[in-house]
């Protein structure tokens, strides 16, 4: 089965959905996308909803906003991010984007120049590849090491960088792997970037969604060592990906990147792009200030519970191996052992047949850069997650070489 190389996650999932057998009475369970809004246990806080209704009803925000974003929004986000940093960001460091996806597009576009290359992780997030292709920026993949908690293979990074390298993308908390890097590891990455004089694009769309041993440390903490472009959004932490409210932030206290020329370019780029809705921007200060800790704790609790459940259920499925228990974000990478399966040759075939036979959607690892792996989004209602993984188990038993049922030895 051929998968086009420029496929997006939504694209692949669309094709998988289309192959669902609608005659089957079983309900569809999709663990394919990092969008937990499909599950009723994941809802945003009323604070956020009320804030947006209020700004809409005020009728003050139906007009154009400045293209870099409303000043109060920029200020609120700079303060929010600064609480986790050893220095203060200014509002001028913050640019409001239509979701983190647009922040990625801005980052790639602003760094693009003839012959430029950018380092992205493998496995990673395919929007980087797609944006780079549009901007004629060469992509170079560095490895994440499954046996070391998906840490960055810094040796591979050293080997890839040349004088045309403009930056390195670090996704932490990790998508697709569910890793959360330690302070020490982030520091090593920063030191490597500094040594090679390249900046870091820190994709922190899952910022603060860490429920394991390592706390979330923003890469901006090392902003004095190496310039960091921090990307983030409301989408994951507030469970509102549909609101399209993100940010592109220059975490660069020494001003290495944010000189006058680069800032001018950035502002002018925003002048020619589509952007986020004004009234949603206007609600951000209230959302950031008033969301209660209990909302965040609750979300983390559900994520921890479901990630534990996911990890446990995967252990029961012989053809799937999870090298690293998820520590954060919303998904986990799981290795597929095709040699144990009698009529399935790769991850794509596995996912298509699974969709058709069991009405369960998982994402083929090829989409995120690792063939014969599978990405499972555990940010789901625990009961749905359990049912889905039970179906995966019976599917894999049905397709295994041995017809024996796996007996768990305790």
């Amino acid at each position: 089965m051929e998968t086009p190389t420029n496929m997006t996650i939504k694209g692949i999932l669309g094709i998988l959905m289309a192959s669902i057998d609608e005659d089957k009475k079983r309900r569809l369970i999709s663990l394919g996308m990092g969008d937990p809004t499909a599950f009723s246990c994941f809802t945003t806080t009323d604070i956020a909803q009320d804030a947006v209704v209020q700004t809409l009803q005020s009728r003050k925000f139906n007009g154009y906003s400045p293209t870099v974003g409303l000043p109060q929004t920029r200020k609120a986000i700079s303060e929010y991010l600064s609480t986790s940093l050893p220095y203060k960001l200014s509002s001028d460091d913050v640019y409001i984007t239509a979701g983190c996806t647009q922040a990625i597009e801005v980052a790639i576009s602003i760094l693009a120049r003839p012959n430029a290359n950018i380092l992205v992780p493998k496995p990673g997030f395919p929007i980087y590849e797609l944006c780079a292709a549009f901007r004629n920026v060469e992509i170079r993949h560095f490895n994440l090491l499954p046996d070391r908690g998906w840490e960055v293979d810094l040796d591979s990074v050293d080997a890839l960088i040349d004088h045309n390298t403009v930056g390195i993308v670090i996704i932490n908390p990790g998508n697709p792997c569910g890793n959360v890097y330690s302070y020490q590891h982030l520091k090593k990455i920063a030191e490597t970037a500094k040594r090679h004089k390249i900046l870091i694009v820190a994709d922190e769309v899952y910022g603060h969604l860490a429920f394991g041993d390592n706390p979330f440390v923003p890469m901006g903490v090392f902003g004095s060592m190496v310039p960091v472009l921090t990307l983030g959004s409301l989408s994951k932490r507030w469970i509102v990906p549909g609101w399209r409210l993100g940010w592109f932030v220059t975490s660069d206290p020494k001003g290495i990147f944010k000189n006058t020329k680069n800032i001018e370019r950035l502002k002018k780029y925003f002048d020619i792009c589509g952007g986020p809705a004004t009234f949603i921007q206007a609600a951000v200060p209230c959302i950031l200030e008033n969301t209660e800790e209990v909302f965040f704790t609750r979300t983390l609790g559900i994520l921890k519970q479901s990630s534990d459940l996911c990890f446990k259920k995967i252990k029961e499925i012989p053809c799937l191996t999870c090298p690293q228990k998820p520590q954060g974000a919303m998904s986990v990478m799981v290795k597929l052992n095709v040699s144990l399966l009698k009529d399935i040759s790769d991850d794509v075939e596995f996912c298509f047949k699974l969709a058709k036979e069991e009405s369960v959607i998982l994402l083929p690892g090829l989409t995120v850069g690792l063939k014969n792996w599978v990405r499972i989004t555990f940010a789901a209602e625990p009961s749905s997650l359990e049912e889905a993984l039970d179906r995966v188990k019976s599917f894999s038993e049905r397709h295994s070489h041995q017809q024996k049922v796996h007996i768990e030895l305790s």
Binding site: T8, K10, M33, D35, T37, T43, Q49, V52, V53, L56, R59, N62, G63, Y64, S65, P66, T67, T97, A98, G99, T101, Q102, I104, E105, L111, A112, R113, I127, L130, F134, T165, V166, H196, K197, I198, L199, P227, P241, G242, W243, R244, L245, K254, G255, I256, F257, N259, K261, R265, K268, Y269, D271, I272, C273, G274, G275, P276, A277, T278, F279
Partner: protein, 421 residues
């Protein structure tokens, strides 16, 4: 400490293309003009006629039923999810039906792609058409975002004239002379920005036939669709979609007076399917995957917004615009050194010619705008950025008293700066 920070050592450098591209965007220019305002000195409140955004004026408020639809969408919590890059089906379908009301060939859901406002639609269509060696035909004068966007792409831009003495009609002979086998498209803005003109049926048919002869597609920027108040009705270019393929850009922003909501579309009228065959539709989809989206909550409200907005709201807005255009046009007649050759009959703008030689110390349109802002706290937009030097673009989307005040201030300015013999 003491680290050397020479820029050339770091692995990122300027993207010169980007720098050149966005040098003349509306926001950039207006920002420079606004910075010139000295409110304490003039003692006057700012009158901003530099952009088409009347949402701040109570008379132009969007109807309650529209806000209610959006509130319902938000509160339902059904639209907090990611939208597909092309938009959610109910919204695409609602826009398709809405546009089809005025088209002989009905649009399907798949013909409509949702964007974050019409500026985003421009971003997308120019991105997908761009390839090295290709050229595109833009009007002069033009809406400046096209220029900025095109510069940030391999597209070569060629300008055809809109003729002021012929109601800003397209110079079709000029178009034919400019086009070659590398031309991909012609952009038409109707109702016109910046000129405030409306094309006739016959003229649009001729344009479509010309496009067909040249083998190019028509990009019909219809952001001001239906906002006509003169003698000419609004006719969508899609009506001629069987003559040449038409890509229509539109949005809620102007007709519903909610530019801040950022909801627009690209609609394709291409019965022969040329755009599908040449891979343009696939490119559109890819491009939409990596760029902005209109919020899903807004998409969720669109069917209801389109269905429940009364015609009386639209006709009332057009009535306000007509009255405003009259005030502006008649008022300009009383002002020395400025002339509006064609009374606006649509959109929210008029192009006004400056008699620079008649001024004592105003050297060009930019100087005019800067000084006007400084001395009178009145903002208008320099025509040079739209492609016509020594003209200015004036918005009339404002309440009557504000416009009358603007006229008074401009008159005082012109009298003050006129050469005295």
């Amino acid at each position: 400490m003491g680290e050397s920070m020479e820029k050339q050592e770091w692995g990122f450098k300027e993207n010169h293309e980007l720098h050149a591209a966005a040098a003349f965007t509306i926001r950039h220019i207006l920002q420079a003009i606004i910075e010139n305002i000295d409110e304490p000195q003039t003692g006057k409140s700012v009158i901003h006629l530099g952009h088409g955004d009347p949402s701040a004026f109570p008379l132009f408020r969007t109807p309650t039923v529209v806000e209610d639809a959006l509130i319902a969408s938000i509160r339902s919590a059904h639209f907090n999810c990611y939208p597909p890059g092309v938009g959610i089906a109910p919204a695409r379908s609602a826009v398709a039906k809405y546009l089809s009301r005025d088209l002989p060939n009905k649009l399907t859901t798949d013909d409509v792609f949702l964007t974050a406002g019409a500026n985003h639609a421009i971003e997308i269509i120019l991105t997908v058409l761009a390839r090295p060696g290709a050229n595109i035909l833009f009007p002069r004068p033009n809406y400046p975002i096209y220029e900025a966007r095109a510069r940030f792409s391999p597209l070569e831009v060629r300008h055809y004239d809109l003729i002021p003495d012929k109601g800003w009609e397209v110079d079709l002979d000029g178009v034919k002379a400019l086009a070659n086998d590398k031309t991909v498209a012609i952009v038409l803005i109707n109702p016109g920005n910046p000129c405030g003109n409306v094309f006739t049926f016959e003229h649009m048919k001729k344009i479509a036939e010309t496009a067909r002869q040249l083998g190019i597609l028509v990009i019909a920027d219809e952001v001001y669709a239906h906002q006509v108040f003169g003698e000419k009705p609004f006719i969508p270019m899609g009506v001629f979609g069987d003559i040449a393929p038409v890509v229509t850009l539109g949005s809620l922003s102007k007709r519903w007076v909610v530019p801040g909501w950022r909801f627009g579309w690209i609609a394709i009228t291409d019965p022969i399917g040329i755009l599908q065959q040449t891979g343009i539709v696939d490119s559109l989809t890819s491009c939409l995957a990596i760029t902005a989206d209109p919020p899903t909550v807004i998409q969720g409200a669109v069917p209801s917004i389109i269905e429940n907005t009364s015609d009386s709201f639209f006709s009332n807005i057009n009535k306000l615009l007509k009255e405003a255009a009259d005030i502006l046009y008649e008022g300009l007649k009383e002002i020395p050194l400025v002339a509006c050759p064609h009374k606006p009959e649509g959109s929210m703008f008029a192009m006004v010619k400056l008699n620079i030689p008649g001024f004592d110390d105003v050297v060009d349109d930019t100087d005019f705008c800067m000084k006007l802002a400084k001395e009178e706290s009145l903002i208008v937009f320099p025509g040079d950025a739209a492609g016509l030097k020594n003209w200015v673009r004036v918005s009339f989307a404002a309440e009557p008293e504000v416009l009358k005040d603007a006229i008074r201030r401009m008159k005082a300015f012109c009298l003050r700066h006129a050469k005295h013999y």
